[in-house]
């Protein structure tokens, strides 16, 4: 992965209610959900409206990112920005949703980085080029890799469906 900037730094236990508030759950299309990402965070919303949130940025998070509701909009809204989420660890359902949709999730138990830092993820490490520090990445649960390799769960399931029908 090439160099990216940290666009947001958050703490532990960031719930899907924070990532994608419940009142927007009737919106389901991945093309429409990004407008409600972090909708209750005025700073993020202002920057997003002003076009100041670059696509491909990095969110740095603490432990248990994505806890709470299973709403897939939490993952699809971040995928819309093509974010990478680098967290100390993730809640199970969010992590699975992210992998199923192709949102880049990086488990990095020691991550320490500030908003604005330049980050590079390479060779099993997260390198903070601003602070000069590097942090090891933990591999994703092994069961998830097959889905990532297939390009997401829809493609993976389609392949199994076709195989079942001998095609």
């Amino acid at each position: 992965m090439s160099m990216s900037r940290v666009v947001m730094k958050v703490g532990d236990d960031i719930s899907t209610d924070i990532i994608y508030p419940g009142r927007f759950m009737a919106t389901v299309l991945p093309t429409e959900t990004p407008q409600f990402a972090f909708a209750d965070n005025p700073e993020f919303t202002r920057k997003a409206k002003a076009g100041e949130i670059p696509s491909g940025g990095v969110i740095v998070a603490g432990k248990n990112f994505g806890c709470g509701s299973s709403r897939e909009q939490a993952a699809s809204s971040l995928k819309g920005y093509d974010f990478a989420v680098v967290a100390r660890d993730f809640a199970r359902i969010f992590l699975q949703n992210a992998i199923n949709l192709g949102l880049n999730t990086v488990i990095c138990p020691g991550i320490e980085a500030e908003e604005g830092d330049e980050i590079e993820i390479a060779g099993g490490m997260v390198h903070d080029r601003t602070s000069g520090r590097s942090f090891p990445v933990e591999p994703l649960p092994k069961a998830r890799q097959a889905i990532i390799d297939a390009g997401g769960l829809v493609a993976y399931t389609r392949r199994l469906l076709l195989a079942k029908h001998g095609r």
Partner: protein, 432 residues
């Protein structure tokens, strides 16, 4: 090596003699549940079939349940459109376990599934809702998944690439003191384990307190295991499970599968022991569910809105406790009290027994069955700086629709006593 309950269920669901923690398996699914987010599942399901030349058909319509509960009746034309789309899909696919917006057989998915006997001991149950952990109360392996994952289940009938989770054993012994309930037990447990203490793990419940607990109480406990990050909670099935299924859920005795019990030498990642007789009412304070304190530390905090209901604590015994406390009393001026029974069956029964009249005479507003104010979609929103005290399951910032409000979580007894005073109140102290 011995197996835990979930290991045994997964071995059976994958046709293997045994499985062990970390194995990657693809269990067949006995029941797949969705609510309004079925609209997103349908999109993803149709996308799977796109370009294949195959007709989109679910693997087994008899194993799919869809329950409208998150936004009932619809709060917007967009939701109404989603619900319409699901109705049409349900008709086309021949899905019969469908619970539309109705007064005779509606309610919250996590109440409807047990109530209608859709979940049985030993089953593998998935739902596009994180509180699908609830159904472990019936001795099945039941866990939440996302919408795309569900589209895959609808297509193939199995969950792909599940890693067999490790299990935490929780042993609960002793009698609950008066006004201490299963909700206090699970809040205490979450406080001890923390919000991620059970991540990627199952919590298996044992002990005499659990054995004596009604299915209603077990649903409370399993429901909230996800707040400690657990994949699932599970109470091994027993005589109470059999009683509930045959007497309350209409399942024929011969259709109740044998209980799946853990081996004596099953291996657990952790064992937690709790003495229920030493528990006091517990309160989860803003803004995380694991910020749990004994009630003494928070009594007196002024409350603007009391909420009794949800898939956690909206059952008949919860309403009975609230009505018992509020009989002949009034909800404090300046405090609103909202009650929403978990299903219309519960609603009707609470009405027949006079409990809803008691609550209304006290000043409570009784709302229709559904998810209601719990997730801040369309009813019971909070004003800036409002404080809510709720028997629901989450208090995350913004959960009830306003990031500038605060939500405390508690048992029905604490909620009812606090409604009388307008402040967080310990029901054990009487008089209020």
């Amino acid at each position: 090596m011995g197996m835990t309950v979930v290991e045994k269920i997964l071995a059976r669901a994958t046709g293997q003699p045994s499985v062990k923690v970390g194995d990657v398996v693809e269990p067949r699914v006995d029941l797949a549940m969705s609510h309004e987010n079925g609209a997103l599942v349908i999109n993803q399901f149709l996308e799977v079939f796109e370009g294949t030349g195959l007709e989109p058909e679910v693997w087994d319509p008899s194993r799919i349940a869809i329950v409208f509960d998150h936004r009932v009746p619809a709060e917007s034309s967009k939701t109404a459109g989603n619900q319409k789309k699901i109705r049409e899909f349900v008709a086309r696919q021949g899905i019969v376990k469908f619970h539309d917006i109705r007064g005779d057989r509606g309610g919250i998915c996590h109440q409807i599934l047990p109530e209608y006997g859709y979940v049985l001991p030993g089953a593998v149950v998935v739902g596009t809702d994180s509180h699908t952990t609830s159904h472990g109360a019936l001795g099945c392996f039941s866990f939440g998944i996302g919408a795309t994952e569900m589209a895959s289940v609808w297509t193939l009938g199995s969950v792909l690439n599940v890693e067999v989770p490790a299990t935490i054993k929780v042993v609960v012994t002793g009698e609950f003191p008066e006004y201490v309930a299963p909700k206090d037990l699970v809040l205490h447990l979450i406080g001890r384990l923390t919000a991620e203490g059970a991540n990627f793990r199952v919590i298996e419940f044992h002990g005499d307190t659990i054995r004596r607990m009604s299915t209603s109480g077990r649903l409370v406990v399993c429901n909230m295991t996800v707040e400690a990050g657990a994949t699932a909670g599970i109470v091994p099935a027993d005589a109470e499970t059999f009683r509930y299924l045959t007497e309350e859920a209409g399942v024929r005795a011969e259709d109740v599968p044998a209980a799946v019990l853990p081996d004596a030498d099953a291996v657990y990642a952790q064992v937690v022991e709790i003495d229920a007789s030493k528990l006091v009412p517990q309160i989860a304070c803003p803004h995380t569910v694991d910020n749990v304190k004994p009630i003494d530390e928070v009594t007196g905090i002024a409350v603007n809105q009391i909420v009794i209901g949800s898939c956690t604590n909206g059952r008949l015994d919860d309403i009975e406790i609230a009505a018992g406390i509020l009989k002949g009393r009034k909800v404090a001026e300046g405090t609103r009290m909202l009650v929403f029974p978990a299903s219309t069956r519960i609603y009707l029964e609470a009405m027949r027994r006079g409990w809803l009249a008691t609550l209304m005479e006290a000043g409570a507003v009784v709302m229709n069955s559904g998810c209601g104010p719990c997730l801040g979609i369309h009813q019971g929103a909070l004003a800036d700086n409002d404080v809510a005290l709720a028997t629901t399951n989450r208090n995350f910032r913004g959960r009830m629709g306003n990031p500038k409000a605060e939500v405390y979580l508690c048992s029905p007894a604490v909620a009812a006593a606090s409604a009388v005073t307008g402040r967080i109140t310990d029901p054990r102290k009487g008089g209020f």
